[in-house]
């Protein structure tokens, strides 16, 4: 599975577990408009760390936080390169 589809699969799974209605996941969708809240994103980051072995937001450099779904996916793509 590509990193992108891995990330989006976890989005869908966590949305379902937290009974959230997910907006269509297009690249320029703002994360806060996706239907998920901070707790969902926290769980997503933890799951992805287990699956992909990376957590791009704890890496220590001050890379900006992702604002859109595309930013979020890109952070994982870069971290797994």
């Amino acid at each position: 599975m590509s990193v992108q589809s891995e990330v989006l699969t976890v989005f869908r799974l966590v949305a379902e577990e937290h009974s959230k209605t997910l907006a269509p996941l297009v690249d320029d969708l703002p994360l806060l408009d996706s239907g998920l809240d901070s707790l969902c994103f926290a769980v997503i980051v933890a799951r992805l760390e287990d699956v992909l072995g990376v957590d791009p937001f704890s890496s220590g450099d001050d890379a900006p936080f992702p604002v859109t779904v595309g930013d979020f996916v890109k952070a994982y793509e870069n971290a797994t390169k």
């Binding site: 703002p30 806060l32 901070s38 994103f41 926290a42 799951r47 937001f57 704890s58 001050d62 900006p64």
Partner: protein, 452 residues
């Protein structure tokens, strides 16, 4: 609370309305019924923060006791709080029934439409301020402060051009500090709305020209993830309520290059202890052991202990909780780790987990997990997280194998999660259930609690 200064230019803004301090000076948000609340123990139970703020200003020095009820607290804890604090009057939002709040004698509605009323009343009573904080048993702890202890860290300078805002609820310690700072330094304040999104709040704060703003690291992470962080241009950013790691400090500084960024340590019981202004996580080791005029700190047994006039006065309603140790210090329970010339926070001695500013006591989650018939014991602990600071994770030891060997682990994990979901608020539900062969016990035979 004295709130002099050029009152008509200073405002308290809620999400739906704003009130000038000038109008408040000349009137009453309680429909002129202030005197009915004299000497009473008053629960301030409005949904809106603005009406709570107005009631607090009007009742400080008049009520015997002000009990601050944040609107997100569990309603089933209300009878306990009413009883423990001997509440005999309640302030609610005008036009609401107060929901299922039991009637306790006097109920006074509060409105942001301030009516003209004489305010040359006697406000000289030493009102007790009661804050609610989460306790190990799941019941809130009632922490008593005075205006002197609450305002001990606030420098009384006039700052009329300052517009404060906070992501916090002002009925919690962190938010109350900002509210009192606003009132006592003659500033203005933008309050967050109950159902307001991060984006709407930031847009509104920006429109009111916010200059100073506070929140937890988790609030700030959410703000930076919103597309609206650029809508404010503060000159001062304050973080508290959770450990501020280097990543969030750096991200904020690079997003707001002109802002002074400080992180502070405070707790409801210990009060405000110190502020760190050098842009680095942790704090200088010399703070501990220093006997300052205001705050003394030590690290006896590895946790941060604080003695100052900003400490709470007492608990009410619980006999078993000890506020101060034999030397008069409040033990914060926050473990310290010395690295070079700085101390860093290394989790909680009691294992308490801070999920985005919300406390989770492991015992209450373990109690739920242990109800599952296949679970012999469990250990709930924190897993570090870059969004909420921490998440709840559970290690579970199963009882002896069931008779049928067809049991599937993933199904069992799902069942345990379902049980947690049905009995606990979302932030307390483990993000992960690990089935493990055994747990570690310490020398005293207790589960070894340590942080991830």
């Amino acid at each position: 609370m004295s709130s002099a200064g050029s009152l008509s230019h200073r405002f308290l803004w809620g999400s739906a309305a704003g009130v000038s301090f000038g109008d408040l000076r000349e009137g009453s948000a309680l429909g002129g019924r202030t005197e009915e609340l004299r000497n009473r123990s008053v629960l301030v139970a409005t949904k809106a923060q603005l009406t709570a703020a107005l009631a607090l200003i009007e009742l400080d020095g008049v009520a015997r006791r002000l009990v601050l009820w944040p609107s997100d607290l569990r309603r089933e804890d209300l009878p306990f709080v009413l009883n423990a604090a001997a509440v005999d009057a309640i302030v609610i939002d005008e036009g609401t029934s107060g929901g299922d709040i039991p009637s306790v004698g006097c109920v006074v509605p509060c409105s942001p439409k301030v009516e003209p009323a004489t305010r040359d009343r006697d406000a000289s009573l030493a009102t007790e301020w009661v804050l609610l904080t989460s306790g190990t048993t799941g019941r809130p702890k009632l922490v008593v402060h005075t205006m002197e202890s609450l305002a001990g860290a606030i420098e009384r300078v006039t700052a009329e051009s300052v517009v404060w805002s906070t992501f916090y609820d002002i009925r919690r310690y962190g938010g109350l500090q900002i509210f009192l700072r606003t009132v006592l330094t003659q500033a203005s304040l933008v309050l967050s709305g109950e159902q307001e999104s991060t984006r709407d709040f930031l847009a509104r704060a920006g429109a009111h020209g916010v200059t100073h703003i506070s929140g937890t690291p988790s609030h700030w992470r959410r703000a930076l993830m919103s597309s609206s962080a650029h809508m404010i241009a503060p000159s001062y950013i304050r973080l508290s309520g959770e450990i501020a790691d280097q990543a969030i400090l750096d991200r904020l500084q690079s997003f707001y290059p002109h802002a002074r960024i400080a992180h502070a340590f405070a707790s409801t019981e210990a009060g405000v202890a110190f502020e760190v202004n050098d842009g680095l996580a942790g704090f200088p080791a010399r703070f501990v052991g220093e006997t300052g005029p205001e705050v003394e700190m030590n690290a006896k047994n590895g946790t941060l202990r604080i003695r100052s006039r900003r400490n709470a006065a007492s608990y009410i309603g619980q006999q078993n909780n000890v506020l101060r140790d034999e030397d008069g210090f409040v033990d914060t329970g926050d473990m310290l780790e010395l690295q070079g010339d700085r101390y860093y926070f290394a989790g909680r001695r009691d294992g308490m987990i801070n999920v985005g500013g919300m406390k989770v006591h492991p015992e209450e989650v373990e109690a739920v997990i242990n109800r599952h018939p296949r679970v012999r014991m469990s250990l709930v602990h924190a897993r570090r997280n870059p969004i909420t600071g921490a998440l709840v994770v559970a290690d579970v030891v199963l009882g002896r194998e069931p008779d049928h060997a067809t049991e599937r682990r993933d199904e069992l994990q799902r069942e345990i999660l379902q049980l947690c979901k049905s009995m606990l608020p979302r932030h307390k539900v483990p993000a992960k259930i690990n089935i493990v062969p055994a747990l570690t016990f310490d020398a005293a035979g207790k589960l070894a609690r340590h942080d991830a």
